[in-house]
Amino acid sequence: MARKGNPARVSFSVGKVSYLLEKGDLSPVEALEILRQQEEQLAFRGEEEKSRLLLEQALQELDALVGLEPVKKLVRELQAFVQVQQLRRQEGLLTEPLVLHMVFMGNPGTGKTTVARILGKIFREMGVLRKGHLVEVERADLVGEYIGHTAQKTREQIKKALDGILFIDEAYSLARGGEKDFGKESIDCLVKAMEDHKDNLILILAGYQREMAHFLRINPGLRSRFPIHIIFPDYTMEELLEIAELMLRQREYQLDKGAREEIIKILQRSSGAAVENPGNARLVRNIIERAIRRQAVRIVGQEKLEREDLMTITREDIGDGEEE
């Protein structure tokens, strides 16, 4: 069956194709045609080129995250480091060992897991890891209930994560129970795995900054094995507002002046000393979702509703940010 082809728009990124589709500048048929042409090109150019394109996509994904500038910079540094080491090896020069175990420190909702996932993709495409998948675990997945159980559970998770990344959330909880706790056994098991599988496993320990720093201080053996420390800063007020407005734009809502002021007030209050985890994207999402529900309740009984009314979030909808 012969069909007419669409002229070259093959170089469009996935994001651009989506954008044009949403805007109505591209029909689904045209979009599919572009996807098909890209797929054909990938098949034609072979595996190496495919990796390059996928790497580019992963880096684009990273760049699309709001804020996180220090993290992005460090990821670029890592990427360059790995690339140069690979080139040096090809030339027969001495190479630094690629120890890429990391510690991620930051409050919840600052993007630690998201960045870890993207790193997995980046390392896969660079040939550092064969699969680059992320296995996310916490204390309960690693620590057992009786003697011998912990090593077995930890080894199981390590096995799952081979050729990818083992991401241990709230890693400091492994050292929570003191000397007699099985968490110690798990740490020993992880250290052994880091030696045994140094070429095909990357370990990431994640958690609150203060607790993680303490955890590494009391386990000096661990500290020396994790050369890369990344601090995930809380979002600034401007970034949080940017996130809030982005979320609302995506849902076709808008803030009036009062609502904007109210959000700033809530964010300022939550970044005060009384709150454990200040500025994070999850807080903004909760405020927005609640505001949308409250706006619905406010306007549902009104007789005449304009388009503007359906879109606008007012000060009253934001409320004091607390659930009633």
């Binding site: 069956m1 069909r3 996935v14 194709v17 989506s18 954008y19 589709l21 949403e22 805007k23 109505g24 591209l26 029909s27 689904p28 048929v29 979009a31 599919l32 045609e33 996807l35 098909r36 797929e39 054909e40 098949a43 979320m247 995506q250 849902r251 076709e252 999402r285």
Partner: protein
């Protein structure tokens, strides 16, 4: 866990297929994970009956997001867990509603990322359209794209309706060599073959 995407034109019966396939595999209740085009997601528990009542309809574009359900499919002596994802229906032209356009963009984004594609086609349309341009443009493009990727199967749906048999013949001529399973999502016919295909490729 592998993800299996169910795609096709609007109103071809994707949602009904997903729900009835879940029921076919022994589920009375499902946890539906709903992923909206703006990146938000939520989960909801439905009985299959309620889901059929609320999520399927006669008009096009009832589904405007990705809706996933996890299913255990028997394979050999064990089981394989698969995430079956329902999508927004595709159309040939540009839809006037921005929400639908956004949902279609989400579907097309997902197409590239999943492990397995089940492409629902209503063969009766092929029969009506006439000889040359028998298979609609959007179905043709999906088929071309998916064939390059592999792990792809066409489900010729609505085989219980008159005219479907002739349409199926035409479909097979249009896409020679393509694996096509005739099904009726409504009456759960052909589901055994679908189950075999999905479990083999997951």
């Amino acid at each position: 866990m592998k993800e299996c995407l169910v795609i096709g034109r609007a109103n071809v019966g994707k949602t009904l297929f997903v729900l009835n396939f879940a029921e076919f595999l022994g589920r009375n209740e499902i946890d539906l994970v709903i992923r909206f085009p703006n990146g938000f997601s939520t989960a909801k528990r439905y009985t299959i009956d309620r889901a059929r009542r609320e999520l399927t309809g006669l008009g096009p574009h009832k589904t405007r997001c990705l809706q996933s359900v996890q299913l255990d499919i028997p394979y050999g002596k064990g089981r394989k867990r698969v995430q079956l994802t329902d999508t927004t229906g595709l159309i040939d032209t540009i839809h006037q509603d921005v929400e639908v356009r956004r949902a279609i963009a989400q579907t097309l984004n997902a197409i590239r990322q999943v492990d397995l594609l089940l492409h629902l086609i209503d063969p009766r349309g092929i029969d009506r359209a006439g000889a040359r341009a028998a298979l609609g443009e959007v179905d043709y493009q999906v088929a071309q794209f998916a064939q390059l990727r592999g792990r792809y199967c066409i489900l010729a749906n609505k085989m219980d309706l008159p005219g479907a048999r002739e349409g199926l013949q035409r479909l097979m001529r249009e896409l020679p060599g393509q694996y096509i399973i005739p099904i009726s999502a409504l009456y759960k016919r052909g589901f055994k073959e679908v189950k075999t295909f999905v479990s083999r490729h997951s």
